[in-house]
Chain length 425, copies 2
């Protein structure tokens, strides 16, 4: 444990975790008092030398900007399925990002038959089945409706599945946990459109079908559609990207990614789940007894430390920010706890405001790394009181054959060298 003379530096858990008030006050609490961040270099000479880029004018304004060439390595990890055109995933590189918004160009992908090239003027959405009148909506007609805007996450049911394999994958954080992203979504509340069509009583399910070559289809409870679902038209301010369902997708806050049907073309009101291929052969949760759970929708409470994480080495003992993301498909994050001693003791992290429902919450914890071995973990608790499980308890409950809904705790081991690796702790 570290001794400090500043009360703001109170150690709250083993192996150097400091009280979150360090991040709740600005400035004064952090430096001085026997513990310094000092990552800066004191200098004697001034001013700075004039760099080459100050000696001639730079480039012009642009119509649609791009990242710096020095950030070209900040990309999605693309993984295709052999011999299946357009099927596969790409992962958001969370270990290179910060904050809570995922840029559209880096939002994760999961396609079953590639990204269709849809002419928005020719695309239609049909609402039919057990309704008083069938209706079709063009993009232009949907743009006439009242809209709603919300910042919410989307997570593939298969996210973090790699951590259920026998040996912990030594991959960057984004390659393990990158099948999740968070955007500001704007669209039309489904309730408006279903009211207009007029759902006939006794029909509590809706088949949602996409306009890709896989005709990706899922059954959605009517109750969810009437609650907080939307037809998303805009993502982070601009129109949806093709890989996220352009020109329109179903958005079901907190529900597994696959149900948020992209390139949405059809909603059929029916009286029972339709048992589509995509909810029977895929996206079911195989249990210990060989049976399988189907229609398991909400993504449960979860968190992951994005820094430090695999591949991001610490540079010497001192104070570090341990930071990551927490989210729950059931509501707001209530608390995130961090451990530096492999789960023996836990300290409470600071949560970035505003804490929004079914959205990423960025958490931060001050950590005084002594330079010795440490195991970092985070554990989220949501507003329903649900606590993120350990990997061991998740496997006891769900079995090792489970591929989906792995919301168990991630552990990162920090070696004395500062190198970080993925461990099962």
């Amino acid at each position: 444990m570290t001794k400090t003379t500043n009360p703001a530096h109170e150690v709250v858990a083993g192996n150097g975790l400091l009280h979150r008030r360090l991040f709740l006050t600005q400035g004064a609490a952090v430096v001085g008092g026997g513990l310094s961040l000092l990552a800066a270099q004191p200098v004697d000479a001034e001013p700075l030398a004039v760099p080459p880029w100050m000696k001639a004018p730079g480039t012009h304004m642009s119509a649609y900007g791009s990242p710096s060439k020095y950030e070209a390595a900040t990309q999605r990890f693309v993984g295709g399925t052999p011999n299946v055109v357009g099927s596969g995933v790409s992962f958001t590189p969370h270990h290179k990002l910060h904050g809570t918004i995922t840029p559209n160009s880096l939002h994760f992908e999961r396609h079953h038959s590639g990204v269709p090239d849809i002419d928005p003027a020719a695309h239609k959405l049909l609402i039919h089945g057990a309704v008083r009148r069938s209706l079709t909506f063009t993009v232009d007609s949907l743009l006439r409706y009242p809209t709603v805007t919300r910042i919410q996450f989307l997570e593939c049911a298969g996210n973090s599945g790699g951590n259920l394999s026998p040996m912990p994958p030594q991959a960057p954080c984004g390659m393990i946990h990158g099948l999740m992203s968070c955007s500001e979504w704007t669209g039309v509340p489904l309730a408006l459109l279903l009211e207009e069509a007029g759902v006939e009583k006794g029909n509590e399910w809706v088949l949602a079908e996409g306009a890709d070559a896989a005709a990706m289809s899922r059954s959605v409870p009517l109750k969810k559609l009437m609650d907080d679902a939307m037809i998303a038209l805009y993502q982070n301010g601009e129109r949806l990207r093709p890989e996220n369902g352009y020109p329109m997708r179903l958005f079901l806050p907190g529900y597994e990614g696959n149900m948020n049907v992209k390139w949405l073309r059809r909603l059929k009101v029916v009286n029972a789940p339709t048992m589509t291929r995509d909810e029977t052969s895929h996206y079911t949760d195989v249990l210990l007894n060989g049976k399988a759970l189907i229609l398991t929708y909400p993504m449960e409470v979860k968190s992951v430390i994005t820094s430090p994480s695999t591949g991001l080495a610490l540079k010497g003992a001192g104070v570090y920010e341990v930071t990551g993301l927490a989210w729950s498909g059931l509501g707001k994050i209530r608390r995130v706890e961090v451990s530096a001693d492999g789960g023996k003791t836990w300290g409470q992290a600071a949560l970035n405001e505003p804490v929004l429902s079914k959205s990423f919450t960025r958490f931060r914890m001050a950590w005084h790394w002594s330079g010795g071995p440490a195991t970092l973990m985070s554990r989220a608790i949501d507003e329903t009181g649900a606590v993120q499980p350990t990997r061991a308890s998740f496997i006891v409950e769900r079995g090792e054959r489970q591929n989906y809904h792995n919301n168990s705790i991630q552990a990162w081991a920090v070696a004395a060298s500062g190198e970080v690796s993925n461990v099962y702790a």
Copy 2:
């Protein structure tokens, strides 16, 4: 006035403005009861024909995505200064966007000598002047510090200046009001770094200098830097874009854009404003008496209707969503009011949650357009009680020679044809 039989359709102001509860409840309140949104088309036949993009697999995942080719017209309007390399502006096309986040590729630009091509490994930030010890920070050293994340707007002091010309410009909304954008910024609180350097008492100003060829420089009150300022490193999750100051910029929530010095290389603590070129020859507010205000920082309460707006024609009488953005450099938006009769009567708009400080707030108002001429206006009130002024009162107070800080009310005239034009009302 429109008669309806549904209490949710209460008319709250002249020319068809409806109570905001239409947007606070979902579904049921809007349709039925004698007033329908019906922009959809009833159909008899089903199912939909199979479009060509469902008949063959689509394209693969991508490492860094792009918008649909059908959205290629969603671009910044680029305006250069003749014969001055790299000097000019580009505008965010707000009439084509929705929600509150501006995508990084469409964030407005204002450069005085182009966009420098900075190697982040060679860039340094020097803090010097009246400090106990001068310090330099590399990008890597700053990434060690605790961070903060906030969604906040940035607005150029010259935004909306076109509406001070004698005739109202007939340009899209984004070309008049597009020198403002809103992002999720993540960076290091300035207070931490200044505490570490140790400011010597009696020095209440800081010179901030950029590493562009113009060495853009402004004087900033120390008090602001110790309050909510940050060195921004990430914008909407990814590292800053070159045109927004890569690898680091000063971010001063609510202050005029020009002070948020991009490509920040130097902060010098001093005892008085340094009267740089950029705060004497530019960015001063010429008054009626020929004198000028200098060091006028906060961008005051303002709003603009983004839809309907110039170039977006209405397609026949019926219910429309009137929507736009409101913001204030002094805090949160308390209320937005909308008028459809040129300011004679006003109704209260619904505000999208969460309403954040010094951030864009999206407002929405239900409007039953009768098909006759109408003049739409919005008026924002912030938490300090400040009310957005009319254009006439702004000119009476500041004069017509004013170029900066125009926060007056925008009026859009809707003709019987549905065409929208910019008017001074």
